[in-house]
């Protein structure tokens, strides 16, 4: 509630810019590849050309137009990111809501399970899975999604816990609404805001993980490109063809920053606090964090 932050939830130039970057990037990624061929046609020499008249962003090491490759890479990464985030949202919400609605004992057990799973070196297992079973987009987003749902389960559970106190829920139940009905009609709509905000926090993380796997040579398989494989290619040619890294890395950074800021504004607008609920965890002694000071 700083004075400067007070007015920023409206449509300011910055907010408009953020929206343009986030949505524009996504739209370009979806429709761009239709307009520009990104695959190799015969007769092209494998030569990385600097940006120029024929190729706005230059060409990659096989002589393909970098802009076309970039748009295709963005599409792949966004698809993997969104699919993984969606998967995480579905699993996380269902699991978290189930835990939140279950009795205290089941709840405790289920959340302890999440704690245990969080203690697993999950990213390491993902690296292992992808390196052992080959590189496919399906495996990639499933693996990433399976890592990402855990914190979401906490958000969902915390949300349910908060909502459970609401009188209208009690009323709905008293009036004979089934558990499923209560969930559908009241809980999920209420959880929408925090989960939407969380998705904007999660998407960049998943996208970075995709890029990370790509650098290890575990990203999507060619001839498909992803933001990550392009950046990895750019890093390998950082000395002789810096434009590859510049356009791929720069665009990813720009898009991620815009997404972060947009997510922050969305959170402020929807009045979702990052710290409440999301990271709440029952501690070892079973005390909720930051409770009342009175005994």
């Amino acid at each position: 509630m700083s004075p400067s932050g007070a007015g920023s939830s409206g449509i300011t130039p910055l907010n408009a810019l953020l929206l343009i970057i986030v949505i524009g990037g996504a739209v370009a990624a979806v429709f761009g590849p239709q307009l520009l061929p990104s695959q190799l046609a015969g007769g092209i020499e494998p030569l990385a050309l600097p940006p120029g008249a024929g190729h706005l962003l230059g060409t990659d090491s096989l002589g393909r137009d970098m802009l076309a490759r970039l748009l295709e890479g963005m599409r792949t990464t966004l698809f993997v990111g969104l699919a993984a985030t969606l998967l995480a949202l579905v699993i996380g919400t269902l699991y978290g809501a189930a835990a939140g609605l279950a009795g205290p004992r089941a709840d405790e057990t289920m959340m302890r399970g999440v704690d245990v799973a969080l203690a697993l070196p999950f990213m390491i297992l993902v690296i292992l899975l992808v390196s052992l079973f080959g590189r496919s987009m399906l495996l990639l987003f499933i693996a990433l999604g399976l890592v990402a749902w855990l914190p979401l389960a906490r958000v969902a559970r915390a949300g349910v816990h908060n909502l459970r106190e609401e009188p209208y829920l009690e009323a709905a139940r008293m009036m004979g609404g089934s558990r499923g009905y209560v969930l559908r009609a009241h809980l999920f709509p209420q959880l929408g805001a925090p989960l939407a905000v969380y998705a904007t926090w999660m998407l960049p993380v998943v996208m970075m993980q995709e890029a990370f796997l790509s650098f290890l040579g575990l990203g999507v398989a060619p001839p498909r490109a992803s933001w990550g494989t392009l950046i990895a290619d750019g890093v390998a040619r950082i000395e002789t063809a810096p434009w590859i890294l510049l356009s791929a890395g720069g665009s990813l950074a720009l898009w991620l920053i815009a997404l972060h800021l947009a997510g922050e504004r969305l959170a402020r607008r929807l009045n979702v606090h990052r710290t409440t609920g999301a990271l709440e965890r029952t501690t070892a002694a079973g005390e909720p964090d930051g409770g009342e000071a009175t005994a």
Binding site: M208, L261, A284, A285
Partner: protein
């Protein structure tokens, strides 16, 4: 301490799960160890497999693996047969730990410092956030080469890679710590800003405490549980990042050969490394819980009673 015992007991199933899952994953993978670019005749391969017990049924191998493990052995590394897998892993774990701790310090210093600054002085928040965002949005494998380029090749201040002296630690620790620090800045700023609006912090202000005193005496203790919770994902991020950073900087750690071991089907190393990562994360979790219990008298007293 009772809590410690309870945590340790609770972590046993986790470790069991990690080992079993990893065992299944690596053994379900196609191909096997000792396959070089040049294939060897059947007789030679049979000899090798017999030597390492790979010709036995999988269940028998699994049981034997556990028997070995309980006696503190993982068997020989397949890539380096003269060395025990455990020796390879422990040798790699030390530099990894040093790098990890250094990177964690970088991240904590920058994250807590930057976050506190941004929370206390809203005017500094945009530039601090901007730097944090950039640190967040640049993948480590891009940041590393950029830092090398600038500080090692252009300015010549620091070594470009290799290991062995504190100077060699600077660039890898920065590369690994900066992105995590960036995330921490944003996290800590949010947490602290909320804490500073809490009644006890306003009350402390009214008692005339300076900004830093309010943070130190009231806002930080209040936010501590959240910070401790944040440590686990933070350490996980460091562990994952080290896989790349150790490669770029030729650090003789275990992250560097994790992928290679998987590709070479060096089963003992892969399982052992996963196990060590799991133990490390569990230790951090447990330490976070213990620290919480210690720092929060409500939990502390309850346990002593």
């Amino acid at each position: 301490m009772k809590l410690l015992r309870r945590r340790l007991l609770a972590s046993l199933p986790t470790l069991f799960a990690v080992i079993t899952i990893t065992f299944i994953i690596v053994r379900a993978a196609p191909g096997g160890p000792f396959r070089d670019e040049k294939a060897v005749p059947e007789a030679v391969r049979a000899n090798i497999e017999a030597r390492y017990g790979l010709d036995e049924p999988l269940a028998v191998q699994y049981v034997k693996f556990w028997r070995n493990l309980l006696t503190g052995s993982l068997g020989p590394s397949f890539q380096h047969p003269e060395r025990s897998a455990l020796g390879v892993l422990v040798g790699g774990a030390v530099p990894s730990l040093i790098l990890g701790v250094a990177a964690a310090l970088v991240a904590l210093l920058l994250g807590l410092g930057g976050g506190t600054l941004a929370a206390l002085r809203p005017r500094t928040s945009p530039p601090v956030s901007a730097v944090a965002l950039i640190a967040l949005a640049i993948p480590v494998f891009v940041l590393g080469p950029l830092l090398i380029r600038l500080f090692a090749l252009e300015l010549g201040w620091l070594p470009a890679a290799l290991w062995g002296s504190p100077r060699h630690l600077v660039l890898p620790a920065l590369t690994l710590g900066l992105p995590v620090g960036g995330a921490l800045v944003r996290f800590w700023r949010t947490v602290l800003t909320e804490s500073l609006d809490a009644p006890e912090c306003i009350a402390a202000r009214a008692r005339g405490l300076t900004d830093l005193e309010v943070v130190r005496l009231h806002a930080a203790p209040r936010s501590l549980p959240l910070l401790l919770n944040y440590m686990a994902p933070m350490i996980a991020a460091l562990v994952t990042g080290s896989v790349v950073v150790e490669k770029i900087f030729a650090v003789p750690g275990m992250g560097r050969y994790f992928v290679d071991s998987a590709l070479a089907r060096d089963y003992p190393i892969v399982i052992g490394a996963t196990l060590i990562y799991a133990v490390a994360l569990l230790v951090v979790h447990t330490m976070a819980d213990l620290a919480h219990a210690r720092l929060d008298p409500r939990l502390h007293r309850e346990h002593n009673r």
